[in-house]
């Protein structure tokens, strides 16, 4: 194609004009500084130090105090943060150039030694940090010079950059850690846009703007995280103005909030897939036809519409869209809701309707046992009951054993697992397919050591996920994960139900906020109040 300069000139000029106009009209121009943002959420943090806390209630707070070398944005793309650039210099070594002139909240300078200190503390401490085993084979850091640091792994590790972008990998002030000892956990010091002020257990955590922040300083003066365990009370607090932002808003009130100009509902596609797992080594589920029949028997549309009421998305595979390596499994086309096909598949496998409608084979009834907890994931109990009823419609009898989460959790991770089915969720919090496909579907990752609860085994899938884990060529990795998901889709060991949505409700005066797909991030550095 011939590129005519003149033909391009007009669109370019238009574009430039539009950009200029856009710059004038950006929120930055109207942005107001100051004010206190009050956030209500159901639980208090365990700790404000990733060394001790890997769950969201702590991470929401410390992700505003600590920063990692690499940031991951709302589209799950990687950006320089405390590192300005990086080079893969060997399969086990990445060299980072660090941002100059950055200071911790305690005034000490950020440098290569701080990166080494943070990683050594997490990986080699006694005991290591609670996030250490989530980061893969990270081995530590080596100082090259003041502003250059090498991060090394014990074996080639494809997802290394995403591991360093984890919310837990925030760089801490070595001086503050040494000074505070265990109390650092309740008064963290990092380089982020907010610094820690006060934590009153089960009441509030207060942060304030860090005036010497290296980047764009936060518009807000203060952030108050309050605890309100009761969902109804949280929603009332939003209405009365006691709160500006509600985490875990009541799903049933979202429609009303969306209609009301006083409020805004922010959402993003989350990274957790909630599913009914199948034990592939437990007859009759060792027969892929029986497993496929179960997938055909489940009416996902009805579950999404009637149980989740628009607060989640239909699962599109074993991974969430947005995760690096995700490939749409097109489950709606592969396994459409079709009771006729379900029954036909069961018939092929030798199961035929008995006198009470339950399928039989050689006098044996098609009865499946099911381990489930209630309240761990949104609507998990209701979903279990709905799927149970749907299976009954194709002649499969499922007997659910309900357990409290902590005890169910122990069983899921145990060996042997004496259940056919289990209701579970899995979040790809590293945003890389590796942290799902490798532990969940590699044949050597069996419980209790691994997380392959379904006891799935396919030599080709093993090879693919291993290769992808060890490769640092991201294009190649994406292709390998695609092939692995194609294979998984043909021999499904899950009935994927829904993909979470991260939903946050605010008063309309809260501007500049975007929900992060990674449920541990709550980015407040750009938020401002229009009042």
């Amino acid at each position: 194609m011939k590129r005519g300069g003149t033909r391009l000139a007009t669109p370019l000029a238009l574009l430039a004009a539009a950009l200029a106009l856009g710059a004038l009209a950006t929120p930055a121009a109207a942005q107001k500084r100051g004010g206190t943002l009050t956030i209500v959420r159901p639980t208090d943090p365990v700790s404000l130090d990733p060394h001790y806390e890997t769950t969201a209630p702590g991470a929401w707070v410390y992700s505003n105090i600590l920063e990692s070398l690499i940031a991951i944005d709302e589209k799950l793309a990687l950006h320089p943060k405390l590192a300005t650039s990086w080079d893969v210099i060997s399969p086990t070594r990445v060299r980072f150039k660090l941002r100059p002139g950055v200071r911790f909240h305690d005034g000490t300078p950020f440098d290569a030694a701080a990166v080494k200190f943070t990683l050594d503390r997490a990986l080699k401490g006694t005991p290591p940090g609670r996030w250490a085993s989530l980061a893969g084979p990270l081995a530590g850091a080596e100082v090259v010079d003041d502003l250059t640091v090498d991060v090394v792994t014990s074996e080639p590790f494809g997802p290394i950059l995403r591991s360093l972008a984890l919310v837990y990998a925030g760089i801490v002030s070595p001086t503050a850690v040494v000074k505070a000892g265990p109390d650092f956990s309740r008064a963290p010091v990092g380089t982020g846009p907010f610094k820690f002020v006060e934590w009153k257990t089960n009441t509030h955590v207060i942060l304030e703007r860090f005036a010497d922040y290296w980047g764009d300083k936060a518009p807000l003066d203060r952030v108050v995280f309050r605890v309100l365990p009761e969902e109804g009370a949280r929603m009332i607090a939003l209405q009365t103005g006691d709160a500006d932002m509600v985490l875990f808003p009541s799903p049933i009130q979202l429609a009303a909030l969306r209609r009301d100009p006083k409020f805004a509902v922010h959402e993003a596609t989350g990274l957790r897939v909630v599913f009914v797992g199948m034990h592939a080594k437990q007859p009759p589920l060792d027969d892929v036809r029986v497993r496929s029949a179960l997938l055909h028997a489940v009416d996902l549309k009805a579950i999404l519409a009637n149980i989740l009421e628009g607060a989640a998305l239909p699962a599109r595979g074993v991974l969430a869209p947005g995760v690096f390596g995700f490939k749409d499994m097109r489950l709606d086309q592969l396994y459409p809701f079709d009771r006729g096909r379900a029954k036909a598949l069961l018939a092929q496998a030798g199961w035929n309707p008995g006198p009470d409608g339950v399928m039989q084979k050689g006098g044996q009834r098609l009865t499946l046992t099911w381990l489930a907890a209630r309240g761990r994931y949104p609507k998990d109990g209701e979903i279990t009951e709905a799927v149970q009823a749907m299976l009954r419609d194709v002649g499969v009898e499922a007997k659910v054993e309900w357990r409290e989460w902590a005890s169910a959790f122990t069983q899921f991770r145990g060996d042997p697992l004496s259940f056919h089915l289990f209701t579970l969720g899995w979040v790809t919090s590293s945003t890389d397919a590796d942290s799902s496909l490798y532990p969940l579907f590699h044949s050597r990752q069996l419980p209790p050591g691994g997380r392959n609860t379904s006891r799935y085994a396919n030599a080709r899938v093993d090879t693919l996920v291993e290769q992808a884990r060890r490769s640092l060529n991201q294009g190649e990795r994406e292709r390998l994960y695609g092939e692995a998901q194609d294979l998984l889709a043909k021999e499904m060991v899950w009935i994927p139900i829904y993909n979470t949505m991260e939903i946050v409700a605010t008063r309309a005066s809260v501007k500049g906020f975007g929900v992060h797909p990674v449920e541990y991030f709550l980015p407040l550095g750009k938020v401002w109040l229009d009042r």
Partner: protein
Amino acid sequence: MAGSLTFALRRLLLAVPVLLGVVFIVMLTLELVPGDAVAMMLGEHATKEAVDRLREHLGLDKPLLVRYAQYVGQLARGDLGRSIIQNRPVVDELADTWPATLELTVAALLIAALVGVPAGVVSAVRPNSSFDALARLGSLFGLSMPVFWTGLVLIVLFSLWLPWLPVGGRGSLAHLVLPAVALALPSIAMLARLTRSSVLEVLHEDYVRTARAKGLQELAVVVKHGLRNALLPIVTLVGIQAGQLMGGAVLTETVFAWPGLGRLMVKAIFARDYVLLQGAVLVFALAFVLVNLLVDLSYGLLDPRISRQG
């Protein structure tokens, strides 16, 4: 008085084996309940090696009796240990939550006594009057409505529709009003009912007729001769209520975001953090022992016939 003192000391000494038993039962229960503190803490993505290593570091791989002995040894040195999940001294956690629980319990008890007892007395003096009927209805309501419902209704009424009081949290007196009232409602009902029947019974006694016959004013008859003699069962109930309000405030604490011991215990149970749970349970057990002691001591004051000898 000296008799009371030795009695109190003896009772406190007797509390030691009680508390040791409580500690053992808590530990045994958490041991028997499936679920693992370390696995819960590290989350679903953690590797087994990481879980095993941390369990060993925390000494949780040791047998129950060894851990019990270690814990009791620690306790004898006045050390409640560090919370497993938070790595924070349990004493600090208790210091954060205990005052809130005490404040709420005392406030609820005061409301219950100040409303429940007079309502019961009036009902007893005018049995089957319209006030009595109203009080009976109110008591039925107070007893049958769960606090997570009355609590939310109170919030809707007094925070949302009439914006007088804050939605939740602790701080000023205004924060205390709604949770204290919600927590007090069932106790008001129970106290009103018990006071009514107790006073009604006493009012039929001979000495009350005598008091009336010697021309005492009705108010003096009811209060001095009626209520005073009806007080024993009421004080007993107040004591029981004090214990229940402390332990049973979990729902109230949840609805009103009150940072008390109840929520601390629930958190500890779900996380299988036995060190933290032990600390909280010990405080409760100790409070129970003390309240019971106070109730027993008050018997002697209320009824001189009950002696503290032997």
